[in-house]
Every structure is written in C-alpha cells, then in structure tokens.
Symmetry: C2
Subunit: 190 residues, 2 copies
C-alpha cells in the first residue's frame, strides 16, 4: 500500500474516533468524518463500507493474524504459550496505532450496542483460536479452555493499555496478565 | 409456589423447547406453546413476558444465585474455589430440570441472534461474578481473570452436559473442566 494511502486511512480513523468521542457515535456522519480528515466522502468508502466498519473493520485481519500465529508456532511450544505469543504480537501491532485505538475503546464502552458487537467479535476470535489449536492436535476441550484463558489475558492487558497513555508495552502487559491468571488459578488451599 | 403452578411452568418450558427444536424458534407462536402444554394462552403470560423469555427469563435468577454464592462463601476459601463452588451449585440446580435445558441449548445453537443474546447474558454473569469477588476484597484485575476462568470451566462443563443424556453430574463435570484448565495453564516448558 503506498504511503499516502496508509495516511488517508489513518487520518480517517483518527478523525472518526475523535468525532465519536466528542459527539457520540450515533450523531456522527460519514461526510463529517471525511471532512475532518480533509478528504472527500467518496474516499471514505475506499477504506470502509460504512461507519460501523471504522470500529470493526479490522477484526477479520486481526483474527487472521492471530490464527496464523497460533498455527505457525513451533511444535515444541505449549498450546497456551502459542496462543499468548500470537496474541501478544497482534496486540503489539494493534496498539502501535496509539491514540485512535484508545479512543475506539471509549467509543465501544459508550454504547451497549457497540459493546455487544465487540463481544461477538471477541467470541468469534476465541472460537477461531480454539479451532487453530485443535488443528495443532490439541484435544477439543483443552483447546477451548486454553483459548479462553489466552483471551482473558489478552482482554485484560488490552483494557489496561487503553486506560493510560503511559501504559507499559503490550508484551509486558499480556505477560503480567498471564502471570496473574496463573496465580489465581494455580493456588489451592494455601 | 403451589405444586400445580410449578407444573404449569415446567409444562410450558418443555412444550416450548420441543416446538422450537422441531419447527424453529421463529416459527413458533405463544398460542401454540400454551396449547401443547394443555393451557390457555393467558396462562403463558403468567410465567413469561414473551416468547424469548422462555429461553432467557431464568438468567437473572441464575445470576443472583451465583453472586449470592460467591458473596457468602467462607472467607478462607480461595477466590476461584468460591466461584467454581457457586457455579457448580447453580449449574447442578439448572441441569436438574433435565431435557428442556438440553433442548434449550439446541435452540440457542440454531440461531445467530439467540447465540448473541446468550453471549451477552454470559458476559453479564461474568462481570457480576468479578464484581462479587471485588466486594470480597479481591483486587480488580485478579477478580476479572478469576471470574473468566471460572466461567470457562462452567461453560465447558455445561456444553458437555447438554451434549449427552448420560453425562456425569454437573459437579463432576465442572471439576473435571477446572482440572483441565489448571493443566492447560499451569504447565510451562515441560
């Protein structure tokens, strides 16, 4: 993708998130997003099918990145480590977009309908990760539980990251979450 | 509740699930459910506000049971054990309804819209469990991760139970799932 293309998409994302946060997702039009980004309305549709896709259009590519990462992890790696390593890499890439991604979380949190949509996307990702593990030979129930554990670490890390512009890098956050999860699950009758 | 009342509700539940499975949720009317249960349509509305409530009407009471269980667990119990013990008790009660609850899972699985609704109810339950843990003094992130781990064990156990009329009892299933989750999460670089 030529550099100017990436910039246009980035400008649209940033403009959209700022408008959504300022005025509420429902109140903002595609024309306004394009205008704030210094582009024609037509250009918006080169990148996004509609307004909702500004928020959720990246989900399929993110899912693909995570699944590929799980499938391509070295065979010797434990299933949960394959999942967390893949989610860490994809999360690091996602969070490298910075402020628009943080604003996106605010927008999602502001609307029950958007929260539901996000929940469904996350459930789909969890199911795809579990499926990738079974294709690596992991038994079905263990694959599902492992995917859910990895996703719990991921969403916890992501929420922490989104809360603060000074957050540690994503790799650090997800490994901290995983350590915390292990502690919560591992201890018994201490 | 007088016994005949409980029977009427049970008959409505059973009739509804059978019709939903046979003909598809969207095709079934409240009048047909009542008729199959040998009741008047008016009687249906004594128990359920609408057709969807046959599937989701129990969610609030279930959530309340689980939250109360977590809050009332002895102080010495580890957070995850408090969660799993409470979910095990509530799940055992739920699964004691037997076949209509199994059929309900089939109905939910048959419709993307119903699956989404179920997902949202489960997310709400997870958030409530996490909140109950924080009220017991568990730190917020650990509470969220613990709730998610407990719910992963619960949903896995529940799916196993729903799949087979010969399934072991729910307590056994959830503790097996938990053991499996611990194994998946605990092992590293073996």
């Amino acid at each position: 993708m030529p550099r100017w293309d990436a910039d246009a998409e980035g400008r649209l994302l940033k403009a959209a998130m700022e408008l959504f946060v300022d005025r509420g997702y429902d109140q903002v039009t595609v024309a306004e997003i394009a205008e704030r980004a210094g582009l024609k309305k037509r250009s918006f549709f080169r990148y996004f099918a509609d307004k909702r896709e500004v928020l959720f259009g990246g989900a399929a590519a993110f899912e693909q990145t995570v699944v590929t990462g799980v499938l391509q992890a070295p065979e010797a790696i434990q299933p949960l480590d394959a999942v967390v390593t893949s989610l860490a890499a994809a999360g690091a890439e996602l969070t490298s977009w910075g402020e628009p991604v943080r604003l996106r979380q605010q927008v999602i949190a502001s609307s029950p309908e958007l929260r539901e949509r996000e929940l469904i996307k996350l459930a789909s990702l969890t199911a795809q990760v579990a499926d990738a593990l079974t294709r690596r030979g992991v038994e079905e129930l263990t694959a599902s539980l492992t995917a859910q554990a990895g996703m719990a670490a991921f969403t916890t890390a992501f929420e922490l990251w989104a809360k603060s512009a000074d957050a540690p890098n994503f790799h650090e956050l997800i490994h901290d979450s995983l350590t915390r999860l292990r502690a919560a699950i591992g201890r018994r009758d201490e």
